[in-house]
Point group: C2
Chain length 339, copies 2
């Protein structure tokens, strides 16, 4: 099933509880706004594209639950719902984006049922578009992979970060669908281990061979010729750099040293051509992510920690950029990519 979806019969939102992976695969159902907000806050659903659909379905859920007797009452209910959903993760721009896009659509409605129909259809459209974009990224990108390739990836740019299919892992899925044999090396991705927990699980579900390594091993596996290509996702693409999970830049330098192609797969919605490497502030996350493993202490109490969430990979380290619009080679002119 999709990472997040609408259950027509039950009138509820269904999702894969990602906090339980890889130990347990459990589908949870949100029948109330409160349970949805709890799921977002607890990261049961995460990943920028997946949160866009989550916000949209949240408004659709609020519309089905509303007992408003007129247009004004319904609009009021949905505005409260929009505010509540957005407040669960105030910095997640995609979550707010999904909510806003559905809210903008209600002005086209003439009556209560019209509102319910419009918000539901807009929410489904957002989810479907996300899958469609990933499939197009996959279709363009799979041409870069050859039968027998071993592809290294970092973090989780897979279907669990999206509604389905995935960006970096979507390219691998599309190549496998075309009959190519592809093996994956997944870097565990400290400190939150999205590679070790989620990427490995996703690929094993699809019977795509995957081997887990520690992040620091990437140079060694490249020098031993165990890797043919590297593919990663992107959180933000500025005029001169790819911002992605911390560690991406390190892998890009190693790929350059070993003359291994380094691909970035991401939707054009991540393009930010008016920003540059030095105009984006890199968020620092909680020190305890490196001091504790859940409740196990793994470093001294008061040790100083540097824990940036992202790093910036300069465009010259990237062999090709794969978007839903096609494959782009350096020099990357972002205006051209966005056309």
């Amino acid at each position: 099933m999709r990472t997040i979806d609408w259950n027509e019969e039950a009138g509820s939102i269904v999702m894969i509880d990602q906090t339980l992976l890889p130990l347990e695969y459990r589908i949870i159902e949100c029948k109330t706004l409160a349970s949805l907000c709890e799921a977002i806050r607890s990261l049961r659903v995460r990943g920028a594209p997946a949160l866009g659909a989550t916000g949209a379905y949240g408004i659709a859920l609020a519309a089905t639950l509303s007992s408003a007797k007129n247009m004004a009452g319904m609009t009021k209910d949905l505005e409260i719902a929009a505010k509540t959903i957005k407040s669960t993760r105030p910095t997640a721009v995609n979550l707010a984006g999904g909510v806003d896009r559905v809210m903008d659509a209600i002005s086209d409605a003439f009556d209560l049922n019209g509102i319910r129909d419009i918000v539901m259809s807009e929410a489904k459209k957002i989810a479907d578009e996300d899958v469609e974009i990933n499939k197009r990224i996959g279709a363009h990108g799979e041409k870069l992979l050859e039968d027998g390739d071993t592809v290294m990836t970092h973090c989780n740019a897979g279907r669990m970060a999206c509604v389905d299919w995935g960006t970096a892992l979507g390219v691998i899925r599309s190549a496998v669908e075309k009959g190519k044999e592809i093996s994956v090396i997944a870097c565990e991705t400290r400190p939150l281990n999205q590679g070790g927990r989620i990427t490995t699980w996703e690929l094993m579900q699809d019977n795509i061979p995957v081997t887990l390594i520690a992040d620091s091993m990437s140079g060694h596996v490249m020098s031993k010729e165990m890797v043919n290509k590297v593919i990663v996702g992107a959180d933000r693409i500025t005029g001169d750099a790819i911002f992605n999970k911390i560690g991406t830049y390190t892998h890009s330098v190693l790929a350059k040293e070993h003359e291994i192609p380094f691909f970035v797969a991401a939707p054009t919605s991540t393009l930010d051509p008016n920003n540059w490497e030095d105009t984006v502030e890199i968020e620092e996350r909680d020190s305890d992510e490196l001091r504790f493993f859940r409740d196990i202490q793994i470093a001294p109490d008061d040790v100083k920690v540097y824990n940036p969430a992202f790093d910036a990979t300069p465009m010259e380290n990237i062999t090709a950029l794969i978007t839903e619009k096609g494959v782009f080679y350096p020099p990357f002119l972002l205006d051209e990519v966005m056309l």
Copy 2:
């Protein structure tokens, strides 16, 4: 205190229990051969040089405990002790080396007390020599560090791996002792986190400023000019490469990319000039080191794991090799380094 030492008054071996770090600093006492063997097996003491002294003190302990009435009985007791100690970690060459060196010395003794004196003095000599060698490495190496430097290191090549002072961290200690202000960036060193657990703790004990990062962040901190030098230890130095903790090679490529000096500090006892990168087999460790964090499962049950213990850094990535004999620059002629 030293990582391992002899307690004259109690007639026992004392050591810092490294399994409890960084949560607890506890000195444990081994009054019997059984408790010493348990401590070695449980890694309460670890690190190649530290194990050499441990083996030697083990024979000294056996000699003080022996109730033999004649030379033949004493020799028999010590031979049994030697076999027992070596069997605790059969692949640790330094442990066996320390035991053998002390056993070789007993042939010089004429009576029972002579044996006891000789084994004790040889064991102390081994421990003292280890400290002396590290101090010489420090004295040579500190000249490469400048006041205000921030030095990145990987794993633990510190005093907790030796009897005292340390190799890579010994160089830093010697520079600090000379009045230079040195800050350290410690990579956590997955999967066993020796950097996060032990290097940070050691340096904090000495009030040397240390910042913990995840291994994958090394490229980022270098690109942000947060690092001036890199120093690591070595497990084995062949004619063409430095074998050290997995991740060392990755850091060396990044240092080269950023034109940051990359130093290796190790005693000449690690030189192995008759071997080469491709004649040394790299030991693979248990998959569960990447599947579990103590008892917390962090990757799918049956995921394939690649977990090499070491990697090989080619000599051309190394700026200088620091031994107790001096500082050597490329091309490294190992025969010259060993003179």
